[in-house]
């Protein structure tokens, strides 16, 4: 690996000063056209590329952002990450990806590490930290987009981006009620998850408004994966065999629920209707295809990145965005 050429090398080769080369490269005024051409030719020839570390030190801009997710393996976050990365590429930014693995220590480590690296901005999904810690961290970064978390007091350099979970859950329940279901259960996600709380709230309020009572026995918590959804459904259906519909925290849980129903000989959607959330690719792969609340996750990722760039550039930007999920009725409900 031979030494990288620097501005000084180019300047020497071109017989001009450092600054002239710098200006030529950054297409700034103050360089005659022919000189610029010959410099750029040299740059090409010598394979020069600006050293972003040095540039970062001088300008306090690194052209990189951090993306914190619980687990990039989860299709939900994978899609978002893809959108973020696409958006970053379009604007010549690089993305540091970090998984928290639902581990508070690792989450704080990630924040510290990103801060040390002087990222220009941060997209932070499902922040699991206490409010005080959250505010401390937000203060440290120049720009932040918070996904899946809300903020009482808006900060000018922070935008929150949330799915309208309450409305989504209500749409699902309405649909089930319309199909004649009267014993609708809810497989909730982790209690500390804001989405889980909001979806629960939507579920309960829809039932109440329909004149049905909210029955704690119809609510069952589980981790947001297929295996947990399966187990939770067995528990649920054992406790309340009269259940005729299940709203699941997300699609993975819904699929687990579907498998459990099949294992118990309860056909879907004939005896139990199932609705998921998020519309991950799996939703259309399994049989019967999953009715679910569709959210364009990749687009959300791109939106988040664009908003982040807007904040960084001082462009006016809303303090919060709310994404409306859409009920995609397929075969499971």
């Amino acid at each position: 690996m031979k030494r990288r050429s620097t501005l000084a090398d180019i300047a020497a080769a071109a017989g001009v000063s450092l600054m002239t080369v710098s200006r030529a490269i950054n297409s700034k005024p103050g360089v005659s056209d022919e000189l610029r051409q010959s410099i750029l030719a040299l740059v090409e020839e010598m394979g020069y590329r600006p050293n972003q570390i040095a540039r970062g030190l001088a300008t306090h801009q690194t052209n990189s952002v951090g993306l914190i997710v619980p687990d990039n393996t989860n299709p939900f976050f994978a899609q978002i990450a893809r959108g973020v990365e696409d958006g970053a590429y379009a604007r010549e930014y690089s993305v540091f990806l970090v998984n928290t693995v639902e581990n508070p220590t690792r989450e704080l480590d990630a924040l510290g590490s990103l801060w040390e690296k002087e990222v220009d901005g941060l997209i932070w999904c499902s922040a699991r930290v206490a409010l005080e810690e959250l505010e401390f961290q937000l203060r440290r970064f120049p720009a932040v987009v918070l996904l899946n978390r809300e903020l009482e007091n808006p900060l000018s350099h922070v935008m929150t981006l949330n799915v309208h979970d309450v409305r989504g859950a209500r749409m699902a329940v309405s649909h089930l009620l319309g199909q004649g279901c009267r014993h609708i259960a809810y497989l909730n996600g982790p209690l500390h998850s804001l989405s889980a709380q909001r979806r629960l709230q939507g579920y309960q309020s829809a039932l109440t408004e329909a004149g049905l009572s909210v029955d704690p026995l119809l609510e069952q918590c589980c981790l947001p994966d297929t295996a947990s959804g399966y187990d939770a459904t067995l528990v649920l259906l054992n406790r309340r065999p009269d259940v005729d519909a299940i709203l699941a925290f997300n699609d993975l849980v819904a699929v687990g629920a579907m498998q459990a129903c099949q294992a118990l000989g309860r056909s879907v959607p004939e005896t139990v209707r199932i609705i998921g959330f998020d519309d991950i690719p799996l939703a259309t792969i399994i049989e019967p295809q999953l009715t679910t609340l569709h959210v364009d996750l990749q687009h959300i990722g791109e939106l988040a990145m664009q908003a982040l760039l807007d904040i960084m550039e001082g462009v006016a930007c809303p303090s919060a965005m709310l994404i409306e999920p859409e009920l995609f009725v397929r075969d499971s409900a």
Copy 2:
């Protein structure tokens, strides 16, 4: 966002020189114990964290690596990325994630961008560039782990990490032959994919060795996703209705094949046996569960990261690693 404190701030507060603080922080010798203690206390109090950009400029080490994948949304690469990130976290490295989206331009852009950022190392999956370009790029980085690509002439700072695709495909074909199948088709992946070529080779050689002829009509190309697998299977079964087994390039394709069979009323595994490759989570979610060649992708990611660190630290390291897939017999074959 208030100004970050710097070494100078700490030094001033402690009434010592910059270097003493630097030494204390980096736990280098040359600082008395009590002084070190009091400095570290100040560091804590003032919330000081070293600026990695400045440090990077001074040391030419950034404590960050690049990870290039075709698409982080593909479970195959998502698992690998997760392993890489876990490994990086364990050693206090950060990971730049880049998607190439099978786009050569974007792949080159990614390499350029990572080089500008002075990453200490690179994990490069499924490099799609020509040999000459590959060698040029490899020369630019201090350390590289190449996944899914081989190298004629080993380089001391590069390691290749491949799955033994040939052996995997042969195991699959053997298994199918043992089940009595005699018209085994192969749904190949993209032609430019090295894995696809190797799996094809394993498929063909296993047939030949069993005394069966290789029939081009039994080979069908498709993109490595479910929809393409579905379409390709329709084409294939239309052309050769006598097919009694399908080996798919990967699990996504296999699932598409399974759906196509079901759509055509051909039961799996009774009339058509199907085997996939990679064993992504989906393999055990669908019904019937997929028989497939299992590879521990997350572990591969960790291995890649560890090897990369070894290269970077000058630790002796093999020039190539070959991972053996294992046939997991489930319900589809």
